[in-house]
Symmetry: C2
Subunit: 418 residues, 2 copies
Amino acid sequence: MVSTSPDASGAVPAADGAAAPFGAVRLTPLTAADPIPGGFPTVGVIGGGQLARMMQPPAVALGVRLRVLAESETGSAALAIHEAPVGDHRDLATVTQFASQCDVLTFEHEHVPGPILEKLIADGVPVRPGPAALGFAQDKLAMRTKLTELGLPCPSWAQVRTWEELQAFAETVPGVVLKTPRGGYDGKGVLVLSESTADTARNWLDRAGPDGLLAEEKVAFTRELAALIARSPSGQAAAWPVVESTQKDGICHEVIAPAPNLTPEQAAEATSVGLRIAGELGVVGVLAVELFQTEDGRILVNELAMRPHNSGHWTIDGAVTSQFEQHLRAVLDLPLGEVRARAPWTVMVNVLGGEYEDLYRSYLHVMAHDPGVKVHMYAKEVRLGRKIGHVTVCGDDLDDCLERARHAAAFIRGDIDE
Amino acid sequence: MVSTSPDASGAVPAADGAAAPFGAVRLTPLTAADPIPGGFPTVGVIGGGQLARMMQPPAVALGVRLRVLAESETGSAALAIHEAPVGDHRDLATVTQFASQCDVLTFEHEHVPGPILEKLIADGVPVRPGPAALGFAQDKLAMRTKLTELGLPCPSWAQVRTWEELQAFAETVPGVVLKTPRGGYDGKGVLVLSESTADTARNWLDRAGPDGLLAEEKVAFTRELAALIARSPSGQAAAWPVVESTQKDGICHEVIAPAPNLTPEQAAEATSVGLRIAGELGVVGVLAVELFQTEDGRILVNELAMRPHNSGHWTIDGAVTSQFEQHLRAVLDLPLGEVRARAPWTVMVNVLGGEYEDLYRSYLHVMAHDPGVKVHMYAKEVRLGRKIGHVTVCGDDLDDCLERARHAAAFIRGDIDE
């Protein structure tokens, strides 16, 4: 177990509720079930959404216990994982207390402030990935600076603090995408510069912190790819087949594994970029590198995520080792599992919230229509455009897999009724 | 939700603790998480061992909630499943109260008394499989009588109440296996008749109930097979490929899917026997039919289990739909999933408790030695010969799969150290 700070009575000190908007952390008391027979560890996950939820099936198989620091009692992970205290990941006392009941700490998002993680490490808590690596996923300016130093292929970019700096950059590229360095996800914090968005851009610049904003070349890409890597603290790394991903309104919509019509050289290049980033940045756990492929066949790094990622959901059904099992193995410094695809093609399609709320009823038709489709639902309330689940189909024929997975997702969402 | 019996205040009445050796059931209070968004149901499972535990991963994927009536707080399932109240499955009030918080009731063992199940059904609780079917898994004399009526292939057998009746039967067969009609499992309640066991046999006869014992022909089988079937309340049925299973000391040890060197006719016969039993007995959920294959190629029914079964653990990694997902789909009357094998061969080897207790440490070597082996541990305390986990290897070459799975199981058990 990691170091704890019990008082003489052995009690864990209470968190300082005053500093925590979510209220003090309420930890499940230690029971006779602690420790697990056989020396199995407890992995603490910060964040209680579907990514933490999907770590539970491999944790059950491995015999590892998960504890989740959740945002709410009714979160996606809290319904699947035994111990899911609610607490604020931005509060040091809360995170420290949570960590004291875990053997290793990991994340389903990158939002825990660096200073909290530094303090935990100083207290002897294994934090994986560590704050040095996570900093590059938290701050896109730091990420672009680092990747450029490493000579890795990026779109043109500039740090801009003023309208004049932005205009100067805009003159060097065919189009500009403006990004807030921190806090963006799923299309949020991203603005394509145009006449109609100029006022918004000025507004963003006015409100930006001292570091300003990240301006990037709007890449004329032909498609998006993703390289999914896992890396352990001892430096072992594994790379799944490179996939093609399709976004809709800034949200991942469809993934095809492996990416069709990718030459072996292109696949090797994308994998090599992913492995190099994982190693140079000292990532531990799963790293997703979102890539643009350009008309002339170049590959450019778009975004990084240091956790299981939507572009890797296909691995649950489609690979020998899923990204969720691999993330647990990596943060526990266990040898990594085989990443081979289990079928020639795997297609994953997200189920986004629509008008239809009676999700369970859709199973009657979806499962009868296609007994081979694998359905994954996240136990989240339906909201328009929200990721509420995904479906996966594996097979020998890509068009067949695509048609089947799209049908199932559209039916569950309520877009079609046959 | 099924019918409940709340008093006017809405409180669930307390179970009658006096009748329950385990103490009164302690149910997790209903929370804001109840019901789950999207209309997803709750499946109640009687029994908190590894079979209930292994239902949790597919329940998480499907978005279905499990509640388990467990034997102890530290049981295998209780460590993986959120709501696992401890209670006695032989106590009507306990089971009734448990059922009141579930949409459907199912089992990981066959030991709930029939009268309790009849009462639940009278109260409107969906009990799957129902007591009429379960009776044939609970009582081996009833099973043999029924299968013989149906003309299904059984070893020679007789109901014996006295030594004379046993002797008379013994003269008609080359060898005798004596079985207690109720309560046996994993080799318990089974006695091979010989000079050295004659005294034990007399003792069993003396202590037997009014129905006496089941005497069966000791079949000179060449190997054991198993047919795994799932059946839904609406009568849809699905059969996985027939497997070969190897027992050691009366406990399932190894399973090969599909059974090697089985002719298509033999496979069809075994499957047909399984489907016929599922239909004629009105089974709902998974049915495992253990079979003997004789030297002259005949197939005889050995035992039945109406729940996920050790002979089907290979389906977790080796089939499109696992027996645990299928059991949930069946008891929820959802359309059944595809049962196709995902690889030419899948080998499952049980991990039995040995001398070695530091199970987790074994992962370091097992996973480095073979990144493709799938490990499943049950979070159970190590006891000699106890089922504490299993490993699975899928591949194109049977000998390779066998060697790899056996190595991993032996290493985790501590039988080998390289």
